[in-house]
């Protein structure tokens, strides 16, 4: 599903953000990516989304080789992934419903398909009662659930989230993680960058640790709840 072979990324400023990283993430996995600030976690995700191009090495995501990919093929790659942002990135002047529908409209879905799919996804994230509200009328946790709904609505193979709980309080964070776990159980691969050790320990999943652009650790954390 995701394969990095000796991937290095050097920014134009000269920063070595990633150094010969090699790793494989299989379909259906739930992976946390941790590391100190500036370690290269966001760079890792941007390479997967092809927001950045590697300086050297090979990246394969959902069967597509990104380092050889042409610009016009990028949309097809993006349609295989749902992206969740730390700052939610909801459109203020659109309702919850329209924010989610927007992701479908953007890739040319028919109004009929949108009408069918959006309420289903909103129910999945527990926001069926808020579809006519605006983002400013929601709590942080609810806003992130809208973000999650938008990421899920096009039925992606994986969810990529860079600190999805960075802007919400711990209880809400836990709820979001539960939700992601639930989505993972249905077969969607989940990739989460996070600073919150408690969450990582609580969920007992694969943890990839990056330090100064190098993958220094890749282990299963023991789940407190499962053990």
């Amino acid at each position: 599903m995701i394969e990095f072979r000796n991937v290095s990324k050097v920014y134009s400023t000269g920063t070595h953000a990633l150094n010969k990283a090699s790793l494989t993430i299989e379909k259906g996995e739930f992976v946390f990516i941790v590391g100190s600030s500036g370690a290269g976690k966001s760079t890792f995700l941007k390479l997967i989304m092809r927001e950045e191009i590697p300086t050297s090495g090979t990246i394969i995501v959902n069967g597509m080789q990104l380092d050889k990919m042409k610009r016009r093929q990028v949309p097809m790659l993006r349609r295989t992934m749902g992206i969740v942002f730390q700052d939610f990135r909801l459109i203020d002047k659109m309702t919850v419903y329209d924010n989610v529908a927007f992701a479908m409209r953007a890739i040319g879905a028919s109004p009929k398909a949108i009408k069918k799919r959006v309420p289903y996804i909103l129910e999945l994230v527990g926001l069926e009662g808020k579809s006519h509200n605006y983002p400013s009328e929601l709590s942080g946790g609810e806003q992130q659930r809208v973000g999650l709904a938008r990421a899920l609505v096009n039925n992606p193979k994986m969810i990529i989230a860079d600190e999805p709980t960075g802007n919400i309080d711990p209880e809400m964070s836990f709820e979001i993680m539960e939700l992601l776990s639930e989505i993972n159980k249905r077969g969607t691969t989940i990739l989460i960058v996070t600073h919150e050790h408690e969450l990582v320990e609580n969920f007992g999943r694969r943890v990839i640790t990056i330090d100064k652009g190098v993958v220094v650790d890749d282990t299963m954390s023991v789940s407190a709840s499962e053990s």
């Binding site: 992206i83 890739i107 109004p111 096009n154």
Partner: protein, 301 residues
């Protein structure tokens, strides 16, 4: 592309115009001015060309033959003059007709006495030229024909008109070119502003896998609509203004202008077509740069 999705994108384009209405109105205004000015330049050119042509039609050069030339010889010379390449028509004017012409024009009894044997006028031939810019060459060919005495020289008028026509044509070409560039620049700026205010939506569209075409369509629709509206308004304005302007111009210099009915359909097609094309070009120019950016770079964060 599914048609349903397409309808959504068109709606978005029209919404863009509304949410950015001050800029939209301003660019429609500028575009109308540009179209009107380019239209005025082209129509001036058309009218001057037509004026030159009509003068050219009347501007038949009268070629006087030598006094000894008999009527029969004159007919031969008339035919010979017709073989010169730039000459489209030759008409033999017998001396008797020439004097009658004068009599008709001036209705003076003196011309009556000059008819017949006392006629001082030579036989003549009216020569019509196709291309006035070849006047000199053609005249020297005419003069070379045996039996030709002299010509009534209208070279000066012809040259003046021709050079005026050339000047107007060249000038209007550059005006049209310059104002087209200005129009494209104005539209692309307007679209760039809409894109800037829409950059957040664009970044989300790109993150969920919208194609460049999909991101582009609303902005192209916006540009084309602005162009279309400008083209229509300009055509309507011209419909009302054309006769007024031409009549005013006629008061200053005497000339017969091309009537609106003859140019109206064309100017309408050209204005609307040019508006739409300029609108589309303007938006395509401004979008390209934006589409290459990704994520935070697009957002300017």
């Amino acid at each position: 592309m599914k048609f349903s999705g397409f309808g959504y994108l068109i709606k978005e384009g029209v919404k863009n115009i509304w949410s950015n209405r001050m800029m939209s109105i301003a660019s429609v205004g500028v575009l109308i001015s540009c179209l009107l000015m380019t239209g005025a330049a082209s129509l001036l050119s058309v009218n001057v060309t037509s004026a030159v042509e009509s003068v050219g039609g009347e501007n038949v050069t009268r070629v006087y033959l030598e006094q000894e030339v008999t009527d029969l010889e004159a007919v031969y010379i008339t035919n010979e003059l017709a073989t010169i390449s730039n000459v489209t028509e030759t008409v033999f004017i017998p001396r008797d007709d020439a004097i009658k012409e004068l009599e008709d024009t001036y209705s003076d009894a003196i011309f009556e006495q000059l008819q017949g044997e006392g006629n001082p006028l030579p036989n003549a031939v009216d020569v019509t030229m196709e291309d006035l810019s070849l006047y000199d060459t053609t005249i020297s060919q005419v003069m070379a024909v045996e039996g030709v005495e002299s010509i009534r020289d209208t070279r000066e008028i012809a040259q003046k008109l021709t050079s005026l026509n050339n000047l107007v044509t060249t000038l209007s070409f550059w005006i049209v070119l310059a104002l087209t560039c200005v129009s494209i620049f104005i539209i692309s700026n307007t679209i760039r502003m809409t894109m800037y205010s829409r950059r957040f939506e664009i970044s989300i569209m790109k993150s969920v896998g919208a194609t460049d075409t999909f991101v582009r369509i609303p902005f192209v629709v916006e540009g084309m609509t602005i162009g279309l509206v400008s083209g229509i308004v300009t055509s309507v304005l011209l419909f009302f203004l054309y006769d007024i302007i031409m009549k005013t111009a006629q008061n200053i210099i005497e000339f017969s202008f091309v009537p609106y009915s003859q140019v109206g359909v064309w100017t309408t097609i050209v204005f609307i077509g040019a508006g739409v094309v300029i609108g589309a070009l303007g938006s395509v120019v401004s979008i390209g740069r934006y589409l290459k950016k990704e994520g935070n770079e697009l957002l300017g964060w």
